[in-house]
């Protein structure tokens, strides 16, 4: 009911917000897909990844490569940065991305494939906890470094930007922002419904069971590895989609958006929203990013302190995040508490 109302309100946002704010809202909604992936992976499966930026980046770069090729003017055969870097022809692996369908498929499939291989190597050997988190962080660092160092192929530090057309429509045309926003909103809402469905299935229950007692699950005859691998692939696919949508809204993807620091920020969105709540992940992402926008325009250096403080407060005072606060204040929780005390009386 509340979800439905919020959805209608959000769908009407293009008619109520200024273009700049609408663009921000679209961007942040796109980011919330990454946070939802973390709810599945970290909140439910108990696997903390500090490398979601990698998958975000794979999705973002996949769509950006297409946009870059689609923006080539007249006689050009390759993007300008390749010419400046001394390349003479478009690298072969860039070629397929001139087809928009290939690029859209790659947005989800590239992160999913990388995640599948990585997760299989990790979980089959029962690597978890802090070790897993550190390895994913190293992965994010390596990925950002690779992007910067391969300037001729990736645009280097500046990343990919300056897109002129979007699937045949001029970027600057009015209405593009609206349509992009609605697509993003629909995908976020779809992910929310699908995620709730998944987490209430037996798959979700086994994931939660694995988080709380991997050994008990194992000695009940389950192999936890495939469950964790699937959770990791899902989180990576959502991050890829998130990265692609973000790139469309922001008009840029660069190493600064995919490295170690952004990857940690992604975890903070989920932590603040409540790491076991998909809706909380959306709320957390919007809250943190709007706060970041407001605070960092006034006091640019101050933002990181605020972020750190928010994280500490969330972890110590409200481990279930925003979602935990609302459900603690909710009627259901009060009734449950009353019933419990009633039941304990003779």
């Amino acid at each position: 009911m509340v979800t439905g109302l919020l959805f209608v309100l959000a769908a009407a946002a293009p008619f109520m917000l200024a273009p700049y704010e609408l663009n921000l809202l679209g961007r942040f909604l796109a980011l919330s897909l990454t946070a939802m992936g973390l709810v599945i992976l970290w909140g439910e499966a108990g696997v903390l990844s500090l490398g979601q930026g990698v998958f975000f980046g794979l999705g973002g770069y996949a769509i950006a490569m297409h946009l870059k090729l689609a923006s080539l003017s007249g006689g050009d055969t390759m993007p300008d940065f390749m010419v400046w870097s001394g390349l003479h022809a478009l690298p072969g692996w860039w070629g397929p991305f001139s087809n928009p369908l290939v690029a859209i498929a790659a947005v989800v499939l590239a992160p999913a494939l990388v995640a599948a291989v990585f997760a299989w190597l990790m979980f089959r050997r029962r690597i978890g906890g802090v070790y897993f988190a550190l390895i994913t962080q190293a992965l994010a660092l390596a990925f950002a470094t690779l992007l910067i160092s391969q300037q001729a192929y990736t645009g280097g530090f500046n990343g990919l930007t300056d897109f002129k057309s979007l699937f045949g429509v001029r970027w600057s045309k009015p209405g593009v922002t609206h349509v992009l926003y609605w697509i993003t909103l629909a995908l976020v809402f779809g992910a929310l419904i699908a995620g709730k469905f998944l987490l209430s299935s037996r798959f979700g229950k086994v994931l939660r069971a694995t988080r709380d007692g991997a050994n008990r699950v194992r000695f009940l005859g389950y192999d936890p590895a495939p469950y964790k691998i699937i959770a990791f692939i899902l989180a990576a696919s959502l991050a890829g989609l998130s990265g692609a949508l973000f790139t469309l809204h922001a008009g840029v993807i660069s190493p600064a958006l995919v490295g170690v620091v952004p990857s940690i920020e992604m975890v903070i969105w989920a932590a603040l929203g409540g790491r076991t709540s998909l809706a909380g992940a959306i709320a957390g992402t919007l809250l943190v990013n709007f706060a970041k926008d407001k605070i960092s325009t006034v006091l640019p250096t101050f933002w990181l302190y605020v972020l750190g403080a928010l994280f500490i407060v969330a972890v110590t005072a409200a481990p279930k995040g925003l979602a935990g606060l609302t459900s603690d204040l909710g009627l259901r929780a009060i009734l449950k508490r009353m019933r419990k005390t009633g039941a304990s009386e003779p």
Binding site: S201, V206, R216, F219, L220, G221, I230
Partner: protein, 247 residues
């Protein structure tokens, strides 16, 4: 006589040179109920660990239904038909009592886990299990909110619900009062004959209520075995419990 369901042959488990199990020999026949007693550190729990693959033996074999299983992954051993209840109850705290039993009795293959429809056969099995352990009225409670005794029963129920033929029950009455213990003994006696059960416990009254065969372990090997009355009157058994050297 038919082949035993499970036999441990010269089973040895070492921790940094210390032999927790030392050339242990034991066999269980199908449908039997066996109680294992022995002083702390005798290797009772380690024996369970070795059977279910939690620790790997440095020598010897674990043969279940004629197949050597001591090198198999843990979940494969369960699929062969062995399930174990731990000393500290290992229930899935974040799930309801019902879900705990449902996960224990459900299909383990991950690609079958996405549906929401519950198989009628599994539903029946879950209901029967809840009835067996007397937790029908608590089915919607979170397992983490149960009392200690209820948790013990729930885990017992989960182990039974797996449908495994051999059940290893490590101190199923730890932390229970007298009436709860009696109820637990009734449940386990009801299982005997249908399943093969191996119980580890310190509580001699409980072992008496179970009846059946008693195995005394000491220093990682079987010290003696027989009926409880025989074991009880054995002076050497009394001396290992009291820590005296055998005269």
């Amino acid at each position: 006589m038919s082949d035993p369901l499970l036999s441990l042959k010269a089973l040895t488990v070492e921790f940094d040179g210390f032999k927790a199990l030392n050339q242990l020999e034991l066999s269980l026949s199908t449908g039997s109920l066996t109680s294992v007693i022995g002083p702390n550190g005798a290797g009772k729990s380690t024996m369970c660990d070795a059977i279910i693959g939690r620790v790997r033996p440095s020598a010897g074999t674990v043969v279940f239904r004629g197949e050597e299983i001591s090198r198999l992954p843990e979940h494969t051993i369960v699929s062969k038909g062995i399930c174990r209840k731990f000393q500290t109850p290992g229930v899935l705290a974040a799930l309801s009592v019902l879900d705990n039993v449902a996960i224990a009795s459900g299909d383990r293959r991950w690609w079958r886990a996405f549906g929401r429809k519950v198989d009628a056969r599994i539903k029946l099995k879950v209901d029967e299990t809840l009835e067996l352990i007397g937790l029908q009225d608590r089915r919607d409670a979170l397992a983490g909110e149960l009392s200690h005794g209820e948790k013990q029963w729930l885990e017992l129920g989960m182990v039974v619900a797996t449908g495994c033929e051999l059940l290893l029950l490590d101190e199923p009455t730890a932390g229970m009062g007298a009436s709860e213990t009696r109820r637990t003994a009734e449940i386990i006696c009801g299982l005997a004959g249908v399943r093969t059960v191996l119980v580890i416990d310190h509580d001699i009254d409980f072992v008496e209520q179970l009846g059946g065969h008693v195995v005394v372990m000491h220093q990682g090997a079987v010290f003696t075995e027989g009926l409880l009355s025989e074991v009880r009157n054995n002076e050497a058994v009394a001396s290992i419990y009291l820590g005296r050297r055998r005269a």
